[in-house]
Amino acid sequence: MPKKFIWVSLGLGGIFATTTVVLVAIFILQAWWGLPFNVLGWNDPPVQPIAFPHTQHVAVDGISCAFCHRNVLEGDSASVPAVELCVFCHKTIQGDEAPPEIQKVIDHYNNNVPINWEKVHRLPDHVQFSHEPHVRFLTETQGLGLEAACSTCHGQIRDMVEVEQVRRLKMGDCVDCHRNNQHLTENTGITDCTTCHY
């Protein structure tokens, strides 16, 4: 009896261990190649301090991306607008659906406290990225509109209530596009390592 019990428990333990290892391996491998499976909220979009619906602002109101993300046509960072820019409109627009959220913006403005928006798209420290040349390439060389240009990497923001990352933004993602469009750009060195890493 004890002997049989040992064999059964060893077998069960082996199956359990193998399953665990395989599951962990699958999770790590697919997270390496893509975005992780949305298990236990690992891939949820970050919770923003103020519920800001891009659906309302982009799809309904038709505000251009560059109106709030002012630096996107000028420099490296797309930039999140200052509270003043929100209040510029929301001084008069109180909203029908979510007045408490708009009141939060007004409070931040009155108390001189910036809003700590959560960053959605993070690149590692050793990657240098500038929005300006990418937007310039997509709008001027590829002839896309500004919103379509932004959607190339950021997805359909106009349909997102909570903004989430849609593309993996791993190195392969960048290099695929850089390789395919090398002949279209003026800068022939866009597949050089030091295009992004320095």
Binding site: D76, H126, Q128, P133, E186, G189, T194, T195, H197, Y198
Partner: protein, 246 residues
């Protein structure tokens, strides 16, 4: 197609006063942690550009000589073939570049560099609290276990290329580089214009003109590394007179 640049530097030793402004500018621009006394004693101080000092003659006729030494961006760089992971290579702009995220820290390159201008991060860099807001966001902070070296301030070159050539559609030459402050930090900081930076492919650039000076030489030329940094010998009429006597 954009012009393929070949970046180079001319260092006029006759103008150098050894003031170390270039060293400080480099430390600030490239997120190099503050070197302490113990770092120098253990030979782990990181200075992408340093001033080598020599004493010449004997007291009372003693003279101090200064040579700024930075990565020579050799055409036949001894550091490149020894890297097992291709973390250092020559790019299409004549720069010897170090890709931090590829480096695994074998230190072969530093061992093979005759100019001693490659530095290894033995520890994670530590910055005092007061310097944390001063860090340059355009430059990666190198973590422990990787090699680093002078990049000719490639972050400024890249910015110049995408702003002047890309956005504004102008030509990148000495004037546009200087006006936009796109020259490397050491060149911008030098008060005596010892250092000149520019495009060796552009025949009108100051670098090409100065490099044709008959005082030109390269550091350790006999090794055949073919550096892109050209030095101009010190003019010293007094010294020549003494030589004549002997």
């Amino acid at each position: 197609m954009a012009i393929q640049h070949k970046w180079g530097m001319v260092i006029d030793i006759d103008r150098c006063t050894g003031c170390q402004a270039c060293v400080i500018a480099c430390q600030a621009e490239n997120n190099i942690p503050v070197n302490e006394k113990v770092d120098f004693l253990s030979r782990r101080a990181k200075q992408w550009i340093r001033i080598d000092r020599f004493w010449e003659g004997e007291y009372p006729n003693i003279k101090a000589r200064f040579i700024p030494v930075l990565c020579q961006h050799c055409e036949n760089a001894p550091c490149e073939p020894v890297c097992p992971v291709f973390a250092t290579y020559h790019n299409n702009e004549g720069l010897n570049v170090q890709v931090y995220n590829r480096c695994v820290g074998t230190r072969y390159c530093a061992n093979n560099c005759p100019y001693q201008v490659r530095f290894f991060n033995f520890f994670n860099p530590k910055f005092p609290e007061s310097l944390k807001n001063q860090l340059n966001p355009d430059v990666t902070i190198r973590s422990r276990g990787i090699m680093e070296k002078c990049t000719f301030c490639i972050q400024r070159i890249r910015r110049a290329e995408r702003t002047i050539e890309g956005k504004e559609g102008r030509v990148l030459n000495d004037e546009t580089m200087r006006d936009g402050n796109y020259n490397p930090a050491c060149v911008s900081a030098c008060p005596t214009e010892t250092l000149t930076f520019g495009d060796l492919n552009n025949p009108n650039s100051q670098v090409v003109k100065k490099s044709k000076n008959k005082r030109n030489y390269r550091l350790l030329e006999n090794l055949g590394t073919d550096p892109n940094v050209i030095y101009l010998k010190k003019v010293d009429p007094h010294h020549q007179k003494e030589g004549h006597h002997a």
